[in-house]
């Protein structure tokens, strides 16, 4: 017995084709002869065939399928075509397979690439339109739920709020601090290098202070929270959605907005100003240290100069923006979580969307605030 490979020979017997199969006709061996067999099928169109499988010592469903395919490949074959010499076990296998030879589709049929592109474009525009409407209605839903909870504070889930404040707020302090410190330091370095050309090194104080207090402190905190907590909200709520937990809540008379969305939104709105404050302060420390080290502006000088030339409004502008950024991040995170459906793939897609959209919204809001404060001269 040579069991190593699948082999076949073709001959003639009494005016009919005869194919003798030998060896190990199992899936891993069939791959090597499949092309040759398909060529043979094409060549033998319309002719009767006898397939002799006496010399096949191992057969699996794939082998049986290929043998049956050769037998049935051509419409011109009459009833005289058959498989002979099969052992009882192989015969059972061949019979089992014969009933299941229908081909099947592997993937959904694809359209013409150009039309597909147009369709995607149109779909994208429509989706964007409806998504913005839905986000707006989600904002409205959250705000009405929030006002109901404010009127009746027993509806506030304080345990949940505090848990999210710790997770999304407190636990984010180290990383936000590190980032702000480095950014503050980098600004001071860059500023020092440029301002030195004009002999105006001391203006580095204004540069760092205005930059960090007005924009970067709160922006860094918001960006980090969007990446850290916005995505977490989407994943948490999304996986609950997948396991039908949200449906169970609705059926039990629990409002998912009240139980899941509101505590997260409140926690972020409360914590973001704190984080923005910490971020700004540590940013100043970073800038101040660099100014001290590379330009001999002592901390005392740094502080005096800040008090003299930086209006307090810069600090307030930064802090006022924080709760708005927080609300945007929380709403987008929770909304995308609620939109998850079906599969793990949808969860991944929604988490990505959540981070991208909340970052986008934070930057857009920031631009609006910049114009607004410029107009009112604050």
């Amino acid at each position: 017995m040579q069991a190593a490979a699948a082999k076949f020979e073709v001959g003639l017997e009494g005016g009919m084709l005869k194919l003798i199969a030998r060896g190990d006709w199992r899936a891993r061996n069939i791959g090597l002869i499949d092309t040759a067999l398909r060529d043979f099928e094409d060549d033998s169109t319309g002719r009767d065939i006898i397939i002799d499988v006496k010399a096949v010592d191992k057969l699996d469903t794939t082998g049986a399928m290929v043998l049956q395919r050769v037998l049935h490949s051509s419409a011109g074959r009459s009833d005289k075509s058959r498989i002979v010499g099969a052992s009882p076990i192989h015969d059972a296998l061949l019979k089992q397979v014969e009933a299941h030879l229908a081909p099947c589709s592997v993937a959904p049929t694809r359209m013409n690439a150009f039309i597909l592109m147009l369709e995607r474009l149109g779909q994208g525009v429509i989706n964007a339109y409806f998504a913005s409407l839905q986000i707006l209605s989600f904002v409205g839903l959250t705000l009405t739920t929030a006002s109901r909870a404010l009127i009746n504070p027993s509806r506030m889930r304080f345990t949940s709020i505090f848990a999210h404040m710790e997770e999304a707020g407190l636990n984010a302090v180290p990383i936000i601090g590190l980032m702000s410190f480095l950014i503050g330091a980098v600004i001071a370095f860059m500023g020092a290098k440029i301002l030195r050309q004009f002999g105006a090194e001391v203006f580095v104080v204004e540069m760092v202070a205005i930059g960090v207090l007005r924009e970067l402190g709160v922006l860094l905190a918001a960006i980090l929270i969007a990446g850290r907590s916005g995505s977490a909200f989407t994943a948490q709520i999304g996986s609950m959605k997948l396991r039908e937990e949200i449906d169970a809540m609705r059926v039990l008379g629990l409002d998912p907005i009240e139980v899941l969305v509101l505590p997260r939104a409140i926690a972020l709105v409360l914590m973001m100003p704190v984080l923005a404050f910490i971020s700004a302060m540590i940013g100043l420390v970073g800038g101040g240290l660099v100014a001290w080290q590379s330009m001999d502006i002592s901390p005392a000088l740094f502080l005096t100069r800040m008090q003299e030339s930086i209006a307090m409004s810069n600090f307030w502008v930064g802090l006022i923006k924080a709760p708005f950024f927080a609300f945007a991040v929380a709403i987008v995170g929770c909304y995308q979580g609620m939109e998850v459906e079906g599969s793990a793939e949808s969860l991944g897609l929604r988490t990505t969307l959540s981070v991208v959209q909340s970052l986008f919204l934070v930057i857009v809001l920031d631009a609006f605030f910049a114009m607004f404060f410029l107009e009112i001269d604050f």
């Binding site: 089992q96 589709s105 599969s343």
Partner: protein, 271 residues
């Protein structure tokens, strides 16, 4: 080990101990699965039926004891040997466990492309064959798992389990969640596949009808071990209270009543 000395054991479990932290699920558990049989594993909820299956297929290393499949100890084998053993068994998880980013046909082709390196056209043909054999319509091939009903997911999972022509098939509650007609069809399907493909089947089930219509032997899990193993008649003869309650309860008797077994029918009615 078994009454018939000639039967070969495909799976041998000896002195298995499984625990999660301090919680011991199995202790001193012995089990044999003979070549070419369908073994049904039954037991109350929480007796670790699925855990036992996971231990055997290499997903939950035991705390003590020995598990031999195809004469080789899986957890002792090298990584390469493990990959080879894995190609010889197929597993149907409870929910089907289909890869959600692939269509049904692509799910079936995944192990084929990974292990066999066949031409694309042949792999497609094999996928079509398995889809048809597991009782799915041809158009199911291009569907994504999220578009399938529970019964179809199970069939698709079975088709994927059969992709590499395994010698040994693990089924975790194959008929749970199916309607009675679908469940009966699934039972028939497993019996006919076992006959034509020469499969050995390890089946975790709660379904008494499935036990009666498909299983050659039944292993009963209770008290952290296999308290009885044999044909349904043999198992009932042990007289263990849980077994009596299980087979003697209204559902057990209803399932027995359809196919009266001469030895126990009198006793079954007397209960």
């Amino acid at each position: 080990m078994a009454a018939n000395g000639a039967t070969k054991n495909i799976i041998e479990v000896r002195g298995l101990k499984t625990q999660f932290g301090d919680f011991v699920v199995h202790e001193n558990l012995d089990l044999d699965v003979h070549e070419g049989e369908i073994l049904g594993v039954v037991g109350g909820s929480g007796t670790g039926k699925s855990v036992l299956m996971r231990s055997i297929i290499g997903l939950k290393p035991p705390s003590a004891g020995k598990i031999t499949v195809f004469g080789e100890e899986f957890y002792e084998a090298s990584e390469r040997e493990q990959r080879e053993i894995e190609q010889r068994w197929g597993v149907l998880f409870q929910g089907g466990a289909l890869f959600s980013s692939l269509t049904v046909a692509q799910n079936i082709m995944a192990p084929i492309n990974e292990h066999l390196h066949l031409p694309e056209a042949l792999a497609r043909d094999i996928a079509a064959l398995k889809i048809s054999m597991s009782g799915l319509p041809p158009e199911a091939g291009s569907k994504y798992p999220s578009e399938l009903s529970g019964g179809m997911s199970k069939r698709a999972g079975l088709a994927r389990a059969l992709a590499l022509d395994p010698e040994l098939l693990f089924l975790d509650e194959p008929t749970a969640g199916l309607d009675p007609i679908g469940a009966t069809k699934f039972d028939d399907l497993i019996v006919s596949l076992k006959k034509s493909l020469g499969l050995t089947v390890f089946m975790v089930t709660h379904d008494l009808d499935t036990l009666h219509s498909t299983c050659d032997r039944v292993a009963v899990l209770a008290e952290k071990r296999v308290i009885a193993c044999g044909t349904i008649e043999e198992v009932r003869r042990t007289g263990h209270p849980w077994i009596e309650e299980y087979f003697g309860g209204p559902r057990g008797r209803a399932a027995l009543g359809e196919r009266p077994a001469p030895k126990t029918s009198a006793r079954g009615e007397a209960l």
